[in-house]
């Protein structure tokens, strides 16, 4: 195995080296770096051209320039990284760090969401193949996949930002809106849950009534401007999540696991009560991270204590429940801060930028600000990549569902949950890992158009600006980062594949 990894790394390094040379030559020949000066009529035009030629070393041999760039990069191994300077005299190393950080921030959440939602949708559509729900999801997946990003961004900005901000100034839904929203939810839910006609009817009507009532109550409470969620809400939703996770992973008949999940919810809620003063008065990212680790440890502990024969399953379930509970806790605090946040920022959803300039709020308001700024690009990126993930998962899941061993599992009397989660889903995941790994590699490469339309300067902008100016240093920095990410993730995908699928292990 070690030999395999080393060989892969060695080959990849050679590929990177060759590709970087090719890239360098292509970039420096991609245009005329003196274009704007040729069109200038400054009296000292010749001098300016000579100055730029010297800065970019246009008169030097391309091999020599490449070699010097390579030596600068090699310096990274000895702690003296030199990626050169841009045409504007800015150090590229610092620029790359900033761009990478910005891109990661923009895309991480979107990628995670896309994976979770995409895989979930893929499985659901595979189980309900050729149902109305399947057709709707398939249709939407293709629709979103083929959406031009800039156009979708414009729509999103118009409706989710500008119109929403106009609406939140009042924060009341019109009765017709409520009825339509409830109808849509009811319709979708019955389509997803399926069943006999009678059951569908009950689901649809129930969901419709629930949503309509809740929305009217929210209107009455002015909830959209002064929302509360509360301890009760946290407990309720976290317990529900616990039950759901148990149902999926272990089955509700496994009481130990169920009790472990419910204990986690209760402990989480109590812990929220205990840590609330700290979270409200001295919040920081460090505190949040520390509490998150604590959550994982405690959840795992609860799982281990309750688990008995199903210890591993119980720990998995409590772990997931713990994570969901901690997300709920943070959400609750954020919801509680929403009305004061609206006081500072009356139009909460922005169309551009990664933060409001000179935003003066406390920690939680700043988190809300970052959240509202990142919302639109995240939604957009998620919509686009959900399509890929759901389609891949669906086909992979359908293929496994038709395998003999699934039929065997069914015929030996396993419950449908066990057949799907244990036998089909796990095996269906194997091909998905490759796609997910590549998604993470693409993550650091940034999203050129999304960055541009939402006013983020990330890796995409680094690449684009560099190429527009025929400036090799930033383009090569981009290549270096994305190239290495691609190679590493490719390797990870291979290793994961080998780990997941014993058939290809040698």
């Amino acid at each position: 195995m070690l030999k395999f990894i080393l060989r892969r790394i060695g080959v990849s390094a050679l590929v990177l080296l060759g590709a970087s040379f090719l890239m360098f030559i292509l970039v420096i020949n991609s245009g005329d770096p003196l274009k704007d000066l040729r069109e200038s009529n400054a009296q000292n035009r010749e001098q300016l051209m000579a100055q730029r030629a010297e800065l970019l070393r246009l008169d030097d041999n391309p091999f020599e320039r490449y070699w010097d760039w390579l030596t600068g990069v090699a310096g990274c191994f000895t702690g003296s990284c030199d990626l050169g300077v841009t045409i504007n005299g800015v150090d590229v190393l610092g620029l790359t760090q900033q761009a990478a950080a910005s891109s990661l921030r923009l895309i991480t959440l979107a990628t995670l969401l896309a994976i979770v939602v995409g895989v979930a949708l893929g499985i659901l559509t595979a189980i309900r193949q050729y149902s109305g729900f399947d057709y709707v999801v398939t249709f939407s997946a293709f629709l979103f996949f083929s959406l031009p990003v800039f156009w979708a961004a414009t729509l999103l900005k118009e409706f989710a930002a500008i119109q929403y901000n106009n609406w939140i100034a009042v924060g009341q839904y019109a009765p017709t809106t409520i009825v339509v929203a409830a109808l849509v939810v009811g319709f979708v839910l019955q389509a997803v849950l399926g069943g006999t006609r009678r059951r569908r009817l009950v689901t649809g009507v129930g969901a419709f009534a629930f949503v309509a009532v809740v929305l009217f109550v929210f209107n009455a409470l002015d909830w959209w401007r002064n929302p509360t969620f509360g301890l009760g809400g946290v407990l309720l939703v976290s317990a529900a999540a616990g039950v759901l996770v148990t149902a999926l992973v272990a089955g509700l008949r496994n009481r130990r696991v169920l009790y472990a999940a419910l204990t986690t919810s209760v402990v989480g809620t109590v812990a929220y009560l205990a840590f609330a003063p700290l979270l409200v008065n001295q919040p920081s990212w460090l505190l949040l991270a520390g509490l998150f680790v604590l959550t994982l440890l405690v959840s795992a502990g609860i799982g281990a204590a309750w688990g008995g024969f199903a210890r591993r399953q119980a720990m998995l379930v409590t772990g997931i429940t713990g994570v969901i509970t901690s997300i709920l806790v943070v959400a609750d605090i954020l919801i509680a801060n929403w009305s004061s946040f609206l006081g500072i920022k009356s139009r909460p959803i922005s169309t551009i930028g990664s933060q409001t300039p000179n935003f003066t709020g406390d920690f939680w308001e700043q988190v809300l600000d970052m959240g509202t700024q990142i919302l639109l690009p995240t939604v957009l990126l998620t919509l686009v990549s959900v399509a890929t993930h759901s389609r891949y998962t669906r086909s992979s899941m359908l293929e496994t569902l038709n395998q003999d061993y699934v039929r065997t599992a069914r015929s030996k009397g396993l419950s449908e949950r066990e057949v799907i989660v244990k036998h089909a889903f796990r095996n269906a995941l194997i091909p998905i890992t490759t796609i997910v790994a590549f998604d993470f590699a693409a993550l650091i490469g940034g999203a050129v158009i999304t960055e541009q339309v939402f006013g983020w300067k990330g890796m995409g902008a680094l690449f684009q600006d560099g190429l527009n100016a025929v400036d090799p240093a930033p383009v090569m920095a981009f290549f270096l980062v994305t190239g290495i990410a691609a190679v590493v993730m490719n390797l990870v995908a291979d290793l994961a594949y080998a780990a997941l699928d014993p058939r290809i292990r040698r």
């Binding site: 100055q51 620029l95 922005s350 930028g353």
Partner: protein, 604 residues
């Protein structure tokens, strides 16, 4: 601001603007706010900034877009020189003069005054306001201007430049031009003098805009390890020991890594705004705050934030209040339509800019080079009015066909110059007359005319289309020979019959000499005419404005009579601002919407 650039960028911006043309709800407001003037508390009178009377800085923030990252305090190096960087740094420095909204020269008397004490030889005396200080309290003095001169005069080997072509010591965007014009440098009694004189070696028509804002000499002196007096002495004695250190700091000490607000001790300012501590986020925005040490009329609003936003995203950001003022690069019909749909919430103003489009004949080779009749035949068939009607008026309804090269339709003396130099014979397409000229020139049916321009540029493609459909009837065979490297290859090599591009006017009086006089670097078409050469020589060699006016008429008339080329139109510009912000004014000059940013105020 001495550089004139062709606006090839328009193409890129225009195609970018197409991207967002698809959207926004069609049911917009029916009463476009276009043409409305902003509710100024003191109406602008003339091209210069309005006098707002007593202004007290109000708390608050106004957000304006620029399309690229801020690069640093020193906008005068070739690496950092850009309109986007200047948009920020121009707020930091005061100057004796600035460009008004029609490109004319305005003075800032709270900073100082200047006048030509002698016209020939040209001697200009500058007097700084006694109150003018850097934000660290040091007065602005002669020493700052000596350093400013040194940065544009001293060569790498420690001499004052002879002809401006040597390698300079300082990395200044203007090279050694100032040293070439004023070899002695500014003269004064002492380093801390407030009055000083520049003795020009030759009479220079554009003396009024030759001296720009200086950088702080006391900071450079400290960094070079000497006192300000010693720095001045070192410059006068060309002491390279000190100058090298000074130049090193000048070249590199004021460059910034994005996001790191420069140290206030190194970057004192003289303008109405100063850097704000922690006010710069890489790739996002930079915020300036009112300069408390500023002695003149203070900034109307405390904070001014420049957000780095691509043109595509600006309109919706304005609609959502993320921006308060925008000046989209290369506006299209869609830009205007989208802005008008925003209704009363924003004020939109379209106005022409100093960039103007024209067709230039190739005098070096080809059918037009030696036949006036051929050029006349072509000029008679170019549908100038149709081009303006179809392509420009949808953006700026007031747009007109341009009938001059050195003056713009929105300038005061335009009517005067045009009435004396051009009789309107090419105003309307006259195919019969064109055919006559075509035959008189002895051209054959189907004579190929390559119109070259820098691709991609949808607007120019449409212009060529219009010309083709008209001129092909005369007998020409117009060919759209757009190329990406037009300026690099086709134009210098003369591989075209007609070149279609734009000049960005600089507000300089004599810069046209580079374009129209024989053997000048910008005279791509190799045009040569004695009358024109002579007139330019007279114009450039005097500071007398009456002579300037007179010679412009001579030049324009001769350029029309010999048909150097055909002017088409001034590029339209569009600005839009939130209705809650007052005093936002468009300008034709390259400084853009922010030219009077210190006057912007939130309506109370």
């Amino acid at each position: 601001m001495k550089i004139r650039r062709l606006s090839a960028a328009v193409a890129v911006a225009a195609s970018g603007a197409l991207l967002f043309s698809a959207c926004t709800s069609p049911a917009g407001s029916d009463d476009p706010a276009e043409g409305d003037s902003t509710a100024t508390s003191a109406a602008a009178d003339g091209p210069c900034k309005a006098d707002l009377g007593d202004v007290a800085t109000a708390d608050g923030e106004i957000k304006v877009s620029v399309e690229d990252e801020f690069l640093g305090y020193n906008s005068n190096t070739p690496e950092t020189y850009s309109t986007y960087n200047s948009a920020v740094t121009d707020r930091l420095f005061s100057n004796f003069w600035y460009f008004g909204d029609d490109g004319s020269i305005c003075t800032d008397e709270s900073y100082g005054t200047y006048e030509a004490v002698s016209e020939d030889p040209l001697q200009v005396e500058y007097t700084l306001n006694d109150e003018a200080v850097w934000s660290d309290g040091t007065p602005v003095t002669y020493a700052d201007y000596v350093l400013d001169w040194a940065a544009q005069a001293i060569t790498e080997d420690g001499k004052v430049t002879e002809d401006g072509t040597e390698t300079p010591l300082f990395n200044h965007i203007s090279g050694l031009t100032l040293g070439d014009y004023v070899p002695e440098g500014p003269q004064a009694d002492s380093p801390d003098a407030k009055t000083f004189t520049y003795d020009y070696e030759t009479v220079y028509a554009d003396w009024k805009i030759q001296i720009s804002s200086p950088f702080p000499a006391h900071v450079v002196a400290e960094q070079a390890g000497v006192s300000t007096e010693e720095l001045v002495a070192a410059i006068q004695d060309l002491d390279m020991g000190v100058l090298k250190k000074a130049a090193e700091f000048w070249n590199e000490g004021w460059l910034s890594q994005p996001g790191q607000v420069p140290d206030p001790a190194l970057t004192p300012v003289t303008g109405p705004y100063n850097f704000k501590a922690d006010g710069w986020q890489a790739g996002q925005y930079i915020t300036l705050e009112a300069n408390e040490q500023y002695w003149g009329t203070p900034a109307a609003t405390k904070e001014l934030t420049f957000r780095f936003v691509a043109a595509d995203a600006q309109i919706q950001a304005l609609a959502n209040g993320d921006l308060d003022a925008i000046n989209p690069n290369g506006p299209t019909v869609d830009t205007v339509q989208q802005l008008e749909q925003l209704g009363d919430a924003v004020t939109v103003e379209s106005s022409p800019t100093l960039t103007w489009e024209h067709l230039d004949f190739n005098f070096g080779s080809g059918i037009f080079s030696d036949s006036l009749e051929a050029r006349e035949a072509f000029a008679l068939c170019v549908p100038r009015q149709k081009i303006v009607d179809d392509l420009i008026q949808p953006i700026d309804p007031e747009a007109v066909v341009m009938n001059a090269r050195e003056v713009f339709p929105f300038q005061e003396n335009y009517e005067d110059v045009v009435s004396q130099s051009y009789d309107g014979r090419y105003d309307e397409v006259d195919l019969d007359a064109a055919k006559e000229k075509f035959e008189a020139a002895g051209l054959e049916e189907g004579t190929k005319v390559r119109i070259g321009y820098a691709a991609p540029n949808p607007r120019r493609a449409a212009e060529v289309e219009a010309i083709k459909s008209s001129c092909d009837q005369v007998g020409f065979d117009v060919e759209d020979s757009a190329a990406e490297d037009f300026f690099d290859k086709d134009l210098p090599n003369g591989d075209y019959e007609v070149a279609l591009f734009a000049w960005a006017g600089s507000g300089q009086i004599a810069s046209g000499q580079n374009i129209y006089a024989t053997d000048q670097p910008q005279n791509y078409g190799k045009y040569s005419d004695e009358t024109v050469d002579e007139a330019w020589k007279t114009l450039a060699g005097t500071t007398d404005e009456a002579v300037h006016a007179e010679q412009v008429v001579v030049i324009e008339k001769q350029l029309w009579d010999t048909l150097f080329g055909i002017p088409l139109f001034a590029h339209p510009g569009v600005i839009a601002s939130s209705s809650s912000v007052e005093n936002v004014r468009p300008t034709a000059a390259q400084s853009g919407i922010v030219w009077n940013a210190e006057q912007w105020a939130r309506a109370s």
